[in-house]
Amino acid sequence: MKKTPVNIERDLSRISRLIADIRYAEPPESLTEKVLANLKPKKLALWERLWRRLRTPVSVTPLKLLPAGVSVLAVFALAVTLFWPSPGERIVTERINEVTEQGLNTVMLFLDRPDATDVEVIGSFNNWSQEGVRMVWDKDRGLWVGVLQLKRGSYEYAFRVNQKEIVADPKAILLRDDGFGHQNSILIIGNGNGNETRI
């Protein structure tokens, strides 16, 4: 069969469609996590940080470092007082600008489950111990709030609702299958530099 220019163009069109349909290899699941573990948050100039905070009430205002040994509940109470979200906007997870003398970062987790009567955070930070970190119902926010103090690193966690239901953080960017039909959320604590981090 002779190839006319029309037929050649038809071949090229077909080849371009086949290129579009090529199936790419999947990268390893841990790739995103590994990339993020190597990154430090960008540091804004002071005026940029002030301007940003003025414009975004949901952002975390720097906390003065509390003396080492202050209880988690004290940090939580202060944080709740200072960092009220604007109406219609909800904070999901934050690392507060708070590093203790032991190098622990304070992380606040939030879960929107008004129907629950009891919520805990469980995770790799305490080897998935049955003793989770109890979350507190914040009636004004309409959210369950939990506070963790963690070293730098990568953690998996989930919420245990009403002592039985295991749920991943619905707003977590990174998730990993636990091999038992559930997904765990991933929390990465990098180098703190004074900027808040949403996870």
Binding site: I15, L18, A25, P27, L39, K42, L44
Partner: protein, 178 residues
């Protein structure tokens, strides 16, 4: 630009490192596959993909947030892969063939087999010079515009058009021989 990327870039530059996870998740597959094509090694591809994303993050202040992110990232990834091969004193998968030395002889009697599939095309692409292969994949697999392909490969618009068309002809020629 893909939806929300400009906002994401602003958030990252404001200190929200986790917003970068969305860009990594969105583009890790094409960058990983670029590295696989360049090195032929899964481990090298993983390392180079990570390196490309870390480097792009570190240089993000220089990126114009109103421009598409992927061609910029891709250029960085391609340069990293070339540097890696140079350092390892490994030849690229093929040698560069300049525009002037390129010629396609169209055999009027050859017929492109009907049963040619994606696997054949991938093998044909792998046999093409890098510049043609990547131009074709950026244009047709990633869906970049010709002008974005030109930007990613450092070409003029007309050179990018020519690269894509000649790449298709060359690939067709290779497929005819199969």
């Amino acid at each position: 630009m893909a939806s929300g990327e400009e906002t994401l870039v602003h958030e990252i530059l404001s200190g929200d490192v986790n917003s970068y996870a969305l860009l990594v998740k969105r583009y890790q597959k094409p960058i990983y596959n670029l590295m696989l094509r360049m090195t032929g090694s899964e481990q090298d591809a993983v390392d180079l993909t990570q390196e490309a994303f870390v480097k792009a993050y570190e240089k993000l202040e220089k990126f114009n947030p109103s421009a598409p992110f992927f061609p910029w990232l891709y250029t960085m990834g391609l340069n990293l892969a070339r540097d890696f091969l140079r350092r390892a004193r490994r030849s690229p998968i093929d040698s560069y063939e300049s525009e002037n030395s390129f010629s396609v002889e169209i055999d009027q009697d050859d017929r492109l087999a009907d049963q040619i599939d994606g696997q054949d095309v991938m093998e044909g692409l792998q046999a093409l010079p890098v510049e043609y292969r990547e131009a074709l994949l950026l244009r047709f697999h990633e869906g970049l515009s010709v002008s974005e392909v030109a930007g990613a490969l450092g070409l003029s618009l007309s050179a990018a058009k020519m690269r894509i068309h000649r790449g298709l002809l060359k690939l067709r020629q290779l497929l005819e021989k199969q």
